[in-house]
């Protein structure tokens, strides 16, 4: 009989060599290629936008150029919009959204996992979730005002309910995503029901959970504007709406840029969290 050492030598060695090691650092050009392309298109876009104003292609009242938006930003930073500093509008909006997101994630993920794991719970709650989820949340505004008044509660509720529902649906689907083969492999290794959930179903669902949280936060951020239309007197959403009625298109565009950048930043952070905590997303094994 062959010894163990001999046997290990029998295994094809070149195969081990071609095994993909930990991600190798790519050449600088390859690494920066796509960010550079994106940077170039954005720069070109801003340039053309600026020229459209400087060369009077478009009435600056209809489309204020970037330089004017920048000037407005500095002005609002110094003196505020309607007696409220710009950073306060910004912070009010992000604070409202973040509180609602956190509560939605903390309550929605467990509920969704429960619905995915228990067909009974799923059947009991699914009609409500599926009815409410595609419902345009703006339709709820009159009711929300009657229920919560026009304070912070109303805004919180609107942002919360829009992200919560899609988190629940996403989490329920993520639980069901575990393949039969993976489940069976764990069972033949002696995993009981609890272990199967903790060590297989849950980590297996993690990448999809991240994706559904990303989508939900996008939806929640969208409904911020709707929430701040509810008789608010601060916040980026309110600022945009209010400035619109005074034809301050520069303030409107500034608000839009800030709303867009913040949403983009939220998503970017989540992508990085996902890479950090679920690096196997999309990988075959």
């Amino acid at each position: 009989m062959r010894s163990e050492a001999e046997l290990a030598l029998l295994l094809p060695q070149q195969e081990a060599a071609t095994g993909k090691g930990p991600r190798e650092p790519a050449a600088p050009w390859r690494r920066w290629k796509y960010p550079l392309i994106s940077g170039t298109t954005v720069t070109l876009f801003v340039l053309v936008w600026q020229l459209s104003g400087s060369l009077n292609w478009v009435d600056p009242l209809l489309l204020p150029p970037p330089s004017e938006i920048l000037r407005t930003a500095l002005e609002l930073l110094a003196s505020g919009y309607r007696q409220t500093p710009l950073w306060e509008h910004f912070l009010t909006s992000t604070a409202r959204a973040l509180v609602a997101f956190v509560v939605a994630i903390v309550s929605g993920v467990p509920l969704g996992l429960g619905m995915g794991l228990s067909p009974t719970l799923g059947a009991a709650l699914n009609p409500f979730v599926q009815f409410l989820r595609p419902l345009p949340k703006i339709a709820l505004i009159p009711l929300v005002i009657v229920w919560f008044g026009i304070g912070e509660g109303a805004k919180f509720f609107l942002i919360f309910i829009s992200s919560f529902l899609s988190i629940v649906v996403g989490a329920a689907a993520a639980v069901l995503g575990v393949s039969q083969a993976r489940r069976r492999a764990a069972q033949t290794l002696g995993a009981n029901r609890r272990q199967l959930f903790l060590y297989v179903v849950l980590p297996n669902a993690l990448p999809e959970l991240f994706t559904s949280v990303r989508l939900s936060i996008g939806i929640g951020w969208t409904s911020l504007i709707a929430a701040e239309m509810v008789a608010a007197s601060s916040g980026l959403g309110w600022m945009v709406i209010n400035a619109g009625s005074y034809l301050r298109t520069d303030v409107v565009l500034l608000g839009i840029v800030l709303l867009g950048l913040t949403g983009y930043f939220f998503d970017w952070s989540l992508v990085h969290l996902q890479r950090r905590f679920a690096p196997w997303a999309g990988m075959d094994s």
């Binding site: 069976r184 033949t188 009981n192």
Partner: protein, 268 residues
Amino acid sequence: MSLPPRISLQRVCKQFAGPTSAALDGDVLRDVSFVLSAGEFVCLLGASGCGKSTILNLVAGFDQADRGEVLLDGRPIHAPGPERGMVFQQPTLFPWLSVRDNVTFGPRMSGQTAQQYLPDAERYLRLVGLQDFAEHFPWQLSGGMRQRAALARAWLPNPEILLMDEPFGALDAQTRLAMQELLTTIWQTIQTTILFVTHDIDEALFLADRVLIMSARPGRIREELQVPFERPRSLEDLVADPRYGQLKRNILHVVREEAAKSLVGEPA
């Protein structure tokens, strides 16, 4: 045979109701009976769709027979258990765990401490040639390396019975040969009972003590034959042995007959 049966199937029948096509309805297994003795290496040989994986699923406890009995040491099998390890066609590793954590999954589930399982784990990792890849993740390995990790993972809990569902089917010929030698060597040191499903005649003759040839659907054990070759076997000696050609020819004959039947039986 003097050894007591570990696994025994008695007149096992299994039907599947095809959800979409009536052609899939009907018996998958009809009156399948065989016995697996302790320490035996048995290959289940048959064309795809003959129900050999279904037999494995019944023994693993993933599925229940409609009629007949599937027994482990005389007791009916109802659920999967760690005493029956399994290697699947695909490696089915857990991508969120390193190779070492994948391999030690079984002992960790049964509550063993690292001190208890780590020495054995390192030994198996060396044995399958992955000692330098223990910290890697499955998606950083080639297909053959993944399947070796899966083999070590199934073997570490020291299962009394190892069920293998065409585990080397997806590997290239050279890797497959190395894996087969690896498998027989580990098997000889540990003396597990192995039920190995394959459609590869050479593989069955190289590995098994006994080969069970299955009929076309509905699956039955059509023929059973002892493999006479001494162990340890080497493929070079095997192919030079006149008995090898004879055995292979006999099996081919049966397999071809069954293949013809299944073609005739196929709906137009």
